[in-house]
């Protein structure tokens, strides 16, 4: 359902993603892992048509990302890194707008909006402008916008960050159900315990290159242990002034 070959993206002299080659099957939940600046968000941006690659090819839902960007947009749901919300729309208005933009009629858009607001515990804050929402509410709103058009492929950039445990559990269960129904999910996460529970494919990226790509069954040990084996930790430094006599 997602396939890319030699996907590369440079920003000036800096190569953010370097020759990424990857396949994600229909109905799989693929977790893209890596430290800050590894190239995870740039990968998601290239696969969703937000950023064009300098070289390489990618197909999503059977469509070429470079040649058919509008068709792909109709088939995917995206939770972008910056959430992509309008300060001047309320939580509910965001969902209604999304429904109509993706071709739902008013009745269906309202019905799905109501359900998502209930499921994600957003009902009380439905009339709050996004500019006045907490980060968690904003994240849930953007997540609901990604689900509302009933996409074939979901791209979620850090979906569980800033989410309370109960909503996190609901989102987890929703995603597992969606994958079982054939929706392909591609997510990035720094929360390894959640990634380990939800994903059945793990891709580790560092310095723009894939350093490890395996299914959940092929994990040699716990995801966290394996992650720390692969990621170079910065040298520890003792901040001696912390906890010393106060000055």
């Amino acid at each position: 359902m997602i396939s890319c070959r030699g996907l590369t993206r440079r920003f000036g002299d800096f190569t953010a993603v370097d020759g990424l080659t990857l396949d994600v099957a229909k109905g799989a939940i693929c977790a893209l892992l890596g430290p800050n600046g590894a190239g995870k968000s740039t990968t998601v941006k290239m696969l969703t048509g937000l950023v064009p690659p300098n070289s390489g090819q990618a197909t999503v839902a059977g469509l070429d990302v470079a040649r058919e960007p509008r068709e792909i947009k109709k088939r995917i749901g995206v939770l972008p890194e910056d959430l992509g919300l309008f300060d001047d729309l309320t939580v509910e208005e965001h969902l209604l707008l999304t429904g109509r933009v993706y071709g739902l009629n008013e009745h269906e858009a309202r019905s799905r909006t109501g359900q998502l607001l209930r499921v994600l515990s957003l009902t009380d804050g439905r009339d709050t402008f996004a500019g006045h929402c907490s980060h968690g509410m904003r994240k849930k709103t953007a997540f609901a916008m990604a689900l509302l058009p009933n996409p074939q492929v979901l791209f979620l950039d850090e979906p569980f960050e800033a989410i309370d445990p109960v909503t996190g559990k609901i989102m987890h269960d929703l995603l597992v159900t969606l994958a079982a129904r054939g929706v392909t999910i591609f997510l990035t996460s720094h929360i390894l315990s959640v990634a380990e529970r939800i994903a059945n494919q793990f891709v580790m990226i560092q310095g723009g290159k894939i350093v490890w790509n395996s299914s959940a069954e092929d994990l040699p040990r716990s995801l966290e242990d394996h992650y720390f084996d692969l990621v170079e930790s910065p040298a520890a430094e003792d901040l001696k002034w912390l906890g010393s006599a106060r000055s």
Binding site: K45, T48, G49, L50, V51, P52, P69, R70, K73, K74, V78, P80, D82, L83, G84, L85, F86, D87, D88, L89, T90, E93, H94, L96, L97, R100, V101, Y102, G103, G125, D127, T128, F129
Partner: protein, 336 residues
Amino acid sequence: MARIRAILGSLLLVFRRESKSFGSFGTNNFFLMSVLALGAAGAFLYLIMALVMFFPMSTDPLRKIPPSRLNLWPLSSRERWVLRVASPWLNPLTWILAGLAVWAARGKVTFGLWAAAAGVFVIGFIAPSFPLAPRKGAWHHIPAFPGPLNHLIRKNLRELLSTLDFYCALVLSATVAGFRLAGKLPAEALLPMTVLVVLALSSYAQSLFGLDGDQALTRYRLFPLRGWQLLAAKDTPFLLAALVLTLSMAPLPGMTAAVMALTVGHASSVNERREQVRWRFSSGASFGPSLLQVALLAIAAGTVQTYPLAILAVIGAYLGSTWWFGRVLERGLVES
């Protein structure tokens, strides 16, 4: 007191940085054309601009510190009191009002003028302390529009209503309507006043995406919408505002001028996005395109006043501009 000095110093820095955004009126069509065409004779128009700017300038500098942060700082009650009393003096309007008070005491300005200015200042100063409950704010009562872009248009109307351009045009329109009701406005003044109202709005038409932050641009990129649809959703509130504000004057030439302002403004809006600040005047594009926009909107309004069917040519030009710059917008939205 070192803590208070540090806090006041930071506040002054933040307040000065923010105050620079008030300078946006310097490239606003209404101001530029008033200076060029009227010079000192445009005092009434400058007064309207000053009046409209007075309210957002009447802010409490202490509000620049998030309340949670202020409460966390280890300040004594006395230090908090000093901060409360000293911080309003970081706002130059406080000094101006103090100066006016001295003049009022000496009889150089009327007490009524001082009281009116002080009243507006106090309202602007304390109003943000009373947040409205959800569903109570005026922003919730924006009317619905037909079609799938309803909420996008409502969002854009909220953006337009948070620029000073609209309120400047509103004051002008209300003044003209008042004169007209009193029978003191000659018929031949209707067209120039209509053009003046659209002129007051026109800089916004050069920066249609200026109040959209980076997040909004991300969403535009993700939505399966065409560029012309995004432009049309921006243009609709502008045309609606122009219609409402020129209805009591010369609506057909007014709408023509508004359509022409958008036709020319699309190029600047799409090609040179300038970030705008809420509750400020829109800053216009460079002088050449601004002059072209003003000249064409005035010519179009004048022509349609005489030959109403000429509006069809203006609409044709608008449709062409929307189609062409919609394509440019689509290409530009893909991050390079």
